[in-house]
């Protein structure tokens, strides 16, 4: 991932927890695929499994690789299935004014970029999308700039340098850790709780 230009999918609600992103009853799979089908299941479908008309994912108007959501996105359960569901559905970026810690780390481990903007910027963005549902936004990971080209607006976003490199090059934490095998073994020799 480096540059993304896309229309957005807005969900202007705060505290969207991972139980909403993917309800527990869909966590029975033993692989990582197919969770997108049940993304936001109980907001997206009614009791008879019919699409809920006014939910944003059921609007053909709102499409794109960028999800825009209210503050404290991804709170609650640590289920990585939430990140898998978002990725499987096709989201590459989530914009919010605040992310829950575990979700943020799960997102990054699945090459979804969580972009934290100010409350003000977020509320402006929601308004702009409301005005123009086909509004395009652009993300440049290298320069760490999120912008709305048509409105001439942009903001910097933070990402730590290690994770940035992982995202840009498709690296995984596990490769990094496996390469430290010797250091871990040495550490274990004198550590109280190592077996």
């Amino acid at each position: 991932m480096n540059k993304i230009k896309s229309t957005t999918v807005p969900i202007p609600l705060d505290n969207i927890d991972t139980d909403q992103i993917i309800p527990a009853r869909f966590l029975k799979a033993t692989n990582r695929e197919g969770f997108g089908e049940n993304l936001f299941r109980d907001w997206r479908y009614d009791k008879e499994d019919k699409p809920v008309k006014d939910f944003v994912l059921n609007h053909s108007t709102y499409q794109g690789e960028v999800l825009v959501a209210g503050k404290n996105f991804g709170c609650g359960s640590s289920r990585e299935h939430a990140a898998w569901a978002l990725a499987d559905y096709g989201f590459k970026v989530v914009i919010s004014s605040f992310f829950a810690d575990i979700f943020k780390s799960n997102a990054l481990n699945n090459f979804i970029l969580p972009i934290q903007v100010s409350d003000q910027f977020l509320s402006y963005l929601f308004k702009a999308i409301e005005k123009n549902p086909k509004l395009e936004v652009s993300v440049d990971l290298e320069t760490q700039i999120f912008s709305i080209p048509d409105l001439g607006m942009s903001t910097n976003f933070e990402i730590n340098s290690y994770k940035k490199e992982c995202l840009m090059n498709g690296y995984d934490d596990i490769d990094y850790l496996i390469a430290l095998n010797k250091e871990v073994k040495t550490f274990e020799e004198t550590h109280i709780y190592a077996s």
Binding site: Q20, V184, Y193
Partner: protein, 467 residues
């Protein structure tokens, strides 16, 4: 070298576990104990299979089945095919990778955050992780314990280490004495409603003060358990004599010389005089009454004598409207006297023997209200056995409670234990999210005492009035 700077408990344990600290990179943290369960581990094991690598430290890895298992007829094969496949996958993975599994029917089986402490696996000064956000429970022993995602479960299985940024530190101090009828669950529900469901994000919390020190280990676990519900990475309480007494003699606790060595380490586990936290908050225990949530996140809570506010801390009018609409409630409404349909007593928050005793003491000689279903689900086989040995099962039976078998049950409703749509459930669990206890279910989070009171009256009741 000068005199070492004073450190917080969190900093001490963190530093003891750093394998590598490198500028521009997260720390490489050594993990002492790794708990795994059927729901968040299969994809991690698949990763090991694909790479053809073993579990680095099988002896530091402990598995159980809890999230997705029935709480009735556990001696029979699991009926739900996907659930059965998930549990069977755990059995196979534990066999393939030589990991000890306390599976269904095993005398040590139970909710992962109940069995760790009760078996003496969880010890002070450890780093503990699990693919479950309520891993913060183990912080009650003065350990750094936190929930991780499945990619990280794979990392820990493969390397016994994790890449982690150090969290900021927050001290939450509660001094004073709790009123009768007010218990540790009320303390944590109170705190979360004061600082909101996101007020702890980015922090590791240390709870202290006389009100915390006076609590039993099980009561402390309830508090640390819900640290995640304010967004904190974890919560911890410095170990003291209460902690050491609880651990001593437990199956996997250190014994003999090892005990003495461990004690020498454990006694260093407290925040130094003069150490600073990034944030400090204090409350007076006298402010706390039996607490209850009214909304759809754990930050939306009030004291039982209060009415629903216009807006919860750190919330918006729009969020309140959505939450109250879902709950079928309105602003300024009192919850006292509200008719309820279900009571759930269980979960990693409140399913330990003290919780069951507290409920049994209260309901002894009473009966549940006619139109209420009451489920009581022990946290482990050991808790279940202890409850039976003490005759609590008879108390529950006489009260009309349905005592089920150990598991996570209706806390997250992955199994058959679901609250039907639109129904109200008074619950001792940890989350009141939309649909958490079943699609369309409506949850009020409370203490075991408040749950017992609601079970008996069939409505939301101030338990103090019945004591």
């Amino acid at each position: 070298m000068g005199i070492a700077a004073p450190k917080t408990l969190f900093e001490k344990i963190w530093q003891k576990h750093v394998v590598q600290a490198k500028e521009g990179f997260p720390d490489v943290l050594y993990i002492d104990r790794h708990f795994i369960h059927e729901v968040t581990s299969p994809q991690a094991f698949s990763g090991l299979h694909k790479r053809g690598i073993p579990v680095a430290k099988p002896k530091q890895t402990i598995a159980t089945a809890d999230h997705n298992i029935p709480t009735k007829d556990q001696h029979l094969p699991i009926k739900e095919l996907l659930s059965k496949k998930q549990v069977d996958t755990l059995i196979k993975n534990c066999n393939d990778f030589d990991v000890e599994l306390y599976g269904i029917g095993h005398e040590k089986q139970g909710i992962v955050h109940v069995i760790g402490p009760e078996l003496g696996i969880t010890l002070p000064g450890m780093t503990i992780v699990c693919g479950d956000s309520h891993t913060s429970t183990h912080g009650a022993f003065g350990s750094i314990a936190f929930g991780i995602g499945t990619s990280q479960v794979e990392q820990v299985l493969a390397t016994q280490s994790l890449l982690q940024y150090r969290a900021k530190t927050m001290k939450i101090e509660i001094n004073g004495t709790l009123e009768k009828g007010v218990v540790s669950k009320d303390i944590i529900l109170f705190i979360i409603s004061k600082i909101s469901a996101s007020g702890g994000t980015g922090y590791f919390v240390e709870y202290c003060g006389t009100a915390i020190e006076s609590l039993s280990m099980e009561a402390r676990m309830t508090i640390c358990n819900m640290s995640i519900e304010m967004g904190a990475r974890g919560g911890m309480i410095a170990p003291d004599q209460t902690t050491f007494d609880y651990i001593k003699g437990r199956e996997f606790a250190p014994k003999g010389e090892a005990w003495e060595e461990a004690m020498a380490y454990w006694k260093t586990l407290k925040t130094d005089e003069g150490a600073t936290y990034d944030k400090v908050i204090s409350f007076d225990a006298a402010e706390i009454e039996p607490w209850i949530t009214y909304g759809t996140n754990p930050g939306m809570g009030i004291g039982i004598s209060q009415n629903i506010p216009d807006v919860a801390v750190n919330s918006t009018a729009k969020d309140m409207e959505k939450s109250l609409g879902y709950m079928g409630l309105s602003k300024n409404q009192a919850l006292r006297g509200k008719k309820i349909d279900y009571v759930f007593i269980g979960s990693c928050t409140n399913s330990r023997i003290e919780d069951l005793r507290m409920v049994a003491d209260f309901v002894k000689g009473k009966k549940k209200a006619n139109d209420v279903n009451v489920w009581i689900v022990p946290g482990s086989k050991k808790v279940e056995a202890q409850a039976i040995a003490e005759g609590l099962d008879q108390v529950f039976k006489n009260a009309g409670f349905d005592l089920r078998q150990p598991g996570c049950s209706a806390c997250l409703a992955m199994n058959e234990d679901k609250v039907p749509a639109g129904k109200y459930c008074v619950s001792t669990s940890n989350r009141n999210f939309e649909g958490r206890q079943g699609p369309g279910s409506r949850t009020f989070l409370v203490s075991p005492l408040m749950a017992a009171a609601a079970a008996v009256t069939g409505e939301i009741t101030d338990v103090r009035k019945l004591m």
